[in-house]
Symmetry: C2
Subunit: 236 residues, 2 copies
């Protein structure tokens, strides 16, 4: 007997029909994971949007299998909401959720920035400054999706230097939870009236001032969520 003992009913062709893409190991799941995370963080998934296995699978050109694993992963981070009947949707915001996310961010992110500060040098400050300039541009253009992407890049450029294994994933989970909602908010009230605490943070990094950096990050969170959040919640 050869190695195929029983009838082969499925998946005889991992790639196209030529051996062009050898379908590297673990690629499909990573692709789905980054795609969905990116969509959540830039607000392309609206709160309440239904996420279906086969739908996402077809959209990304993979089988439902890697999608299932990614959905479980994101559900564990509370970035997706699995309803009791198994249906999955992007979580909707509620006042209590919003307040708690704000509280959690204020507890964790300033601390994380302080942890990162010793590893941040002037080159990093320059990169942050460039990102911040692009942010200003996005604001003046009213490009909410670009703003969300760059704001995320700014914060995590800082946090990444912390080499944190614990706080960092917690903060990433928080961002996945509030980002979709912020997109709808910015889409409604615009991004114009945002006070720019980023420049303050950059100055604190250049001065190697932990207290100032902590305060700048906290103020940025408070302004970014506080000012916009209140009048835009489903109900007060």
């Amino acid at each position: 007997m050869n190695k195929t003992s029983t009838g082969n009913a499925q998946a005889p062709r991992p790639d196209g029909e030529d051996g062009s893409t050898p379908t590297n190991r673990g690629t499909a799941r990573a692709q789905v994971d980054t795609a969905v995370r990116s969509a959540l963080l830039t607000g392309r998934f609206i709160p309440g949007k239904a996420v279906t296995l086969r739908g996402l699978a077809q959209e990304l050109g993979v089988s439902p299998m890697p999608v299932r694993e990614v959905i479980q992963r994101l559900a564990a981070e509370n970035a997706l909401n699995v309803k009791p009947n198994g249906r999955v949707q992007v979580p909707e915001m509620s006042p209590s959720r919003f307040d708690e996310i704000l509280k959690a961010r204020l507890l964790l992110e300033p601390e994380l920035a302080e942890m990162a500060l010793p590893q941040l040098d002037h080159a990093d400050a320059k990169v942050l400054e460039d990102i911040d300039l692009e942010i200003d541009e996005s604001i003046s253009c009213g490009n909410a999706e670009s703003y969300l992407r760059l704001n995320h890049a700014f914060h995590f450029k800082i946090y990444a230097s912390s080499n944190s294994e614990i706080l960092m994933p917690l903060v990433e989970s928080l961002w996945l939870q509030f980002a979709p909602f912020m997109r709808t908010v910015y889409g409604r009230v615009g991004t114009a009236n945002l006070v720019d605490w980023h420049k303050e943070a950059i100055r604190a990094i250049r001065n190697d001032d932990p207290t100032a950096l902590n305060a700048a990050i906290a103020a940025d969170i408070r302004d970014g969520m506080g000012i916009l959040g209140r009048e835009s919640l489903p109900e007060i």
Copy 2:
């Protein structure tokens, strides 16, 4: 022929061979999830232990499928470590990880307890007192697994009253991360020299004193992890 039009190659029998268990929807995954979580929290999974799909599946009497989803879930919470080659193991502790978990717990758990305080009444205090008595018993018996289980019950009896949707999952993730390590520590140095801050916390609940509860939880965390952790880490 039966109603299956095409060849039926798999899963012809969802339950045993009599219709005893109709295999309720979503039971298998929940069963695996609670089993693995419980094993992690009570230290039955030692850090470094390899977790295999087929192994766990056979051990729990289910197909590898629900195990895959649970592993992805727990990996997303950093309760399991997926190595670059796909192998999964219970994460090992490192000094930096330990310090960061301690820091994160001190940031989140006292706050969570304070949030819970308004919802805690004297009946809850009584339940907590009973749990604490059992904890004392476990300590005197040197039963580390029972101690871990009851200590978890004590803390989360408090936290559950917070009705938290955000902080609570973060704290659960933290517990899953340090519990397996604590089991090995308690197994080595014993549970005898634990200062009991639980009674202080119960008193604070009875007095409706947020500051005292905050302080008691913080002290409990510091003592539980600080005293034991240092001399037991792999390397300093």
